[in-house]
Amino acid sequence: MRKIGWRKILATFIAVLGIALGWSLVEPQSVSAAEPTYTFATNNTFEPFEIQDSKGGYSGKNPGIEIEMLKKIAKHEHFKYKLKPMSFNGDLQALEGGQVDAVIAGMSVTNERKQKFDFSKPYYTDGVMMAVAKNSKITSLKQLKGKMVSAKSGTSAALFVKKNQKKYGYKIRYFDSSNTMWNDVKNGNTDATFDDGPVLQYGIRTGVPLKIVTKKPIDAQPVAVGFQKGQNLALQKKVNDGIDWLNKTGQMKQIVNKYTKSDKTTKSSTASRTIPGLLKANRSALLNGLWMTIQLTIVGIILAMIFGLILGVLGFMQSKLANGISSIIIYIFRGLPMIVLAFFIYMGLPNVIGHKVPLFLAGIMTLMLDEGAYIGAIVKGGFDAVDPGQWEAARSLGLPYRKALIKVVAPQGIKIMVPSLVNQFIITLKDTSILSAIGVMELTQTGTVIISQNMEGFKMWLIIGTIYIIIITLLTWLSNYIQKRMA
């Protein structure tokens, strides 16, 4: 009897694996036979180097210095590329993990990074600058004693503030994107912020209410494309040749000037700053984000249910080994913060398996393991909550374990579980927002990207929050209806 049980569990596991694998095949992987395709990690927002359009892509007219550069180089050097926008920290980890072939993200060439990565020829010189709120009295680094300063984690500005912390006696707060960081200064939570010069200058020209107080860039450093050390030599050569060609033909200067000198690229369309205006302007981006959130939730919940059911039954079986396996799996995935799990699957796992993990699959796997562990605990708890007398009555009639479970105990256990499961569905929907950390373009990430362009933090988060509340309300109604039907 036990043998059959194990076989069934194994079959379910294989089915889940099959679904996951199928997904990875469905993921679009357009490859042209003639020209090689490379994957470049880049920033979500790093104006003026990277400027995302409202859909989170780079197909707009003014995608930023580096994106325009890359487009020209690729065409001239005959290769194709795919962009993976992430936080800068994510970029570096993805490159280290071999998830991507190169990083093009306003990356300064530092000695530390040279140990780990190869760099192309530099195409820009970049230095750190300090900015404060418009009404601030701070004008120099010496006035920062005891104050709060900020920088984006992993950037050269972050290295700079860390290095000089003892000298000036400030506290440091790290951020992942420029606009949240700048908003923090604007709101008075941070006294001063350090960022790359061009980034700050561009931001202020597009309406960020800060002022730069350092006269010239501190710690000026060259900016270049980063590669995995000793890898992709063909690509490295192509990029270097392309940079030479852009410099020689004067195109490089043209691109840089377009973003740093002229006003053409700033999109200060103050036309629609009202909530209906913002909704209208970002309608398709928000809908795409919402759709992704819904897809993640539904696929995630289904897989988490299967995984959780397996864990629950393993935890309940009359086998110490199965109980132990179930407890350990539940303990690990419940204990692990979901964001760590997401990073581990998306950036850590490729190191081990030597193969990239598609973004959507990584997101789904994260949800399946994390939510599945919770569902496993709920399932086990539900079975445990059934009166032991039910077992005894069923077994004393001669029913074998499996029949007693399926016919008598499971139906009662499931009834006990329903409210907790419904709660877990709602939590799953909310938890999809955590996947924005690895760059899944769901609702929250869509919001981050939109705000990086229009700086309307308050109104946009209000809109995003309202959307979440609405779908969660709908889901609650639906589940109440189902619960009533089941009772």
Binding site: D387, G389, Q390, E392, A393, A394, R395, S396, L397, G398, L399, P400, K403, K407, V408, P411, Q412, K415
Partner: protein, 247 residues
């Protein structure tokens, strides 16, 4: 083991940790015999009963039912249990099924009968326990006494040749007890082998062929109802009967 006995228990031991609740019990039950087990709570009589169909796993000794040693791992315990009906203190009806589904579940699942046969049989046993009109109701709507009678019908539907009763009337309101005992008396009259843990001394006096008095994990005294109730030999038996009969 001896063929003339339906149930034969030899030197049965059971402990929970250091607490030895059964300290080597020997008991033989003949076909059609009705044995009532009495004794203070904690004396081990319920544990003993639950060892007879392996709801509790004995630590030592042998339990033969119909010639099978149920302590032997090679014996298919499910098959043996099919022939041992059990009735619990708290009825343990399946709340997710109607009365008739409760009764037909095991015969149909264990392929003893077709669905139609099982239904016909179930109706017959519901008639035996006097609840034919409750065939399709949810057990939730029944009184305690009715639930217990359904539980008896459920056990009978497997056509067992031994019935175990674990304090079948302890959880019932006093006015419900009579109906349940009446059903049990009829069963006894028809020749069912029954082992009953009970606090109903009247029932034991009237129906039992033998009364067994448990004390501290041992059988302290056994005999006909007359011997036990009228002429108890042991001090413990006298004390116990004094307490329960003079309430």
């Amino acid at each position: 083991m001896d063929k003339q006995y339906k149930v034969q228990v030899k030197d049965l031991h059971k402990s929970y940790g250091k607490n030895e609740v059964l300290q080597g019990i020997n008991l033989n039950v003949k076909p059609s015999e009705v044995v009532c087990m009495i004794g203070p709570s904690g004396s081990g009589k319920s544990t003993f009963l639950r060892c007879l169909n392996r709801l509790e796993i004995p630590n030592g000794g042998h339990v033969y039912v119909d010639g099978y040693d149920i302590a032997d791992p090679k014996v298919n315990i499910n098959k043996v249990r099919e022939n041992i009906g059990m009735v619990f203190q708290h009825f343990n009806l399946f709340p997710n099924m109607s009365v008739i589904e409760n009764i037909t579940l095991a015969p149909v699942q264990l392929k003893k009968e077709s669905k139609e046969e099982a239904k016909k049989d179930a109706l017959h046993y519901l008639e035996v326990v006097g609840l034919k009109e409750k065939t399709n109701v949810n057990p939730k709507t029944l009184s305690g006494g009715q639930k217990q009678r359904v539980a008896i019908a459920r056990a009978l539907a497997m056509k067992p040749d031994v019935m175990l009763f674990d304090e079948p009337t302890s959880a019932l309101d006093p006015e419900m007890v009579g109906d349940v005992l009446e059903v049990m008396k009829n069963l006894a009259r028809q020749g069912m082998t029954m082992i009953v843990v009970t606090h109903e001394m009247g029932f034991a006096k009237q129906v039992a062929d033998r009364v067994v008095f448990f004390h501290d994990g041992n059988i302290r005294e056994q005999g006909t109802p007359e011997q036990i109730f009228e002429h108890p030999q042991q001090e413990d038996t006298k004390n116990f009967l004094d307490k329960v009969l003079n309430v």
